[in-house]
Assembly symmetry: C2
Homo-oligomer: 220 residues x 2
DNA sequence: AAGTCATATGACTTGCAGGTCACATTATAG
DNA sequence: CTATAATGTGACCTGCAAGTCATATGACTT
């Protein structure tokens, strides 16, 4: 966390510094962010930077707390419409409120999500080609499912593809993260418990996609 | 793509080099991978490296093709059980076959997915704390939904949380990626079209979680 | 005015990255 | 055996990163 020296700074100067940091992280992610550039763009000296913070991770950690703070602020006078929503409507409201916030502070959101959710998304050029192939397979599959009457034909194909893509990614990430902790990955993957978990995840997706009906034609 | 010189190399030497590269990417991701280390660990000289490849991106691109190749090889004699599965069963088979492959070549899978799906997951220490808070909120919500009878009580809470987490991440990523292309993000986010898309995504999740029934008690 | 303490500075150190190149080694051809 | 081409080598270059530190500034005390 930032040192006292930083917290003593006039609000305006602090703001300049964190703006520069946000911009840096949004553009380069955490690993590739450069303290030199942050320093340059915020008009302070190298020495000062290290008088304020431990290192760039420290700045980032601080950013998270600022984000939390600003979110609180942003939401404190916003409440979900109509008294008692059910859990799913409440979740929907939450997600949308989050979107509103993110679009109000896009650079901030980008900086944080870039680090939290991965830099891979930003290589576009190099990887989209590879990704595209996967997408095409999914698209083919979902179109086939529609033809076969397994899925409501009014479904948004692009959306269904995104769902499938999200799932496969989530599953591989899960397998790799959990699996790497095991002494015998193969055995773990084949275990009834793991298989059941994957089955359940896929059922959630499947039922979500099958049950489309009226909701998918109108808007909400 | 690698230069001819590399392709002329004896199989064994090539293997050593790509193994070193896989290990490097698995450990450090693409940005932080060091050609120096790859060279060291594969026992070739710096000069040779640059005689074989343009740069490390080139190596990575090559790795993707190797992966594709090996996957083909691995699957060519594997076919989904029982002649004609419906699309969802086929998808399930595909996902599981992919898992099998990944656990047979875990370092390879890790190297690639780390770059494709993001390095953020590997900061563990720094970010899990922040992530944990989100997880707890979701857990609370899903437990509440069970109490209220909105969700099958036999549902696996941990799994439901993972689903919710996956979705919120997928949605923020989508919003930030698409949104940054717009001239007015806020307007775009609020547009009926975007809102509808998000609603649909959330419905897919909601129905998936609601419709649990028998499938969720047994194991497939 | 003199002294003291917090703050600010940027030249400098160290370390490692990517990439080059003159030269050494080995294979191939005539 | 020699000439020519292909392959291999590692010292060396430049560039930029993180982090340090002797020194300067200036505000506040007595």
């Amino acid at each position: 966390m930032p040192k006292q020296t930083f917290l003593n700074l006039p609000q305006e100067k602090r703001q300049t510094i964190i703006s520069a940091a946000v911009e840096e992280f949004a553009q380069f992610g955490l690993e590739n962010a450069s303290t030199n550039r942050i320093v340059e763009n915020s008009g302070i000296s190298k020495g000062s930077f290290y008088q304020y913070f431990e290192d760039k991770q420290d700045v980032f950690r601080y950013l998270l707390t600022v984000l939390e703070q600003e979110k609180m602020n942003h939401f404190k006078d916003k409440h979900p419409p109509g008294g008692n929503l059910d859990t799913f409507n409440y979740f929907r409201w939450m997600v949308k409120a989050g979107m509103e916030f993110n679009s109000a502070y896009p650079r901030m959101a980008q900086a944080v999500s870039r680090v939290l959710l991965g830099e891979g998304l930003y290589y576009g050029k190099l990887l989209t080609e590879y990704h595209q192939k996967t997408i095409q397979v999914f698209e083919m599959m979902i179109k086939q499912a529609i033809e076969r009457g397994e899925v409501d034909p009014s479904i948004d194909v692009e959306l269904a593809v995104m769902v499938m893509d999200t799932w496969t990614n989530a599953i591989s990430t899960y397998i790799l993260n959990e699996g790497m902790k095991q002494k015998d990955i193969m055995k773990w993957v084949r275990s009834a418990k793991t298989q059941e978990k994957i089955d359940k995840l896929l059922y959630v997706m499947e039922y979500g996609l099958r049950k489309t009906e009226s909701q998918f034609s109108g808007s909400m």
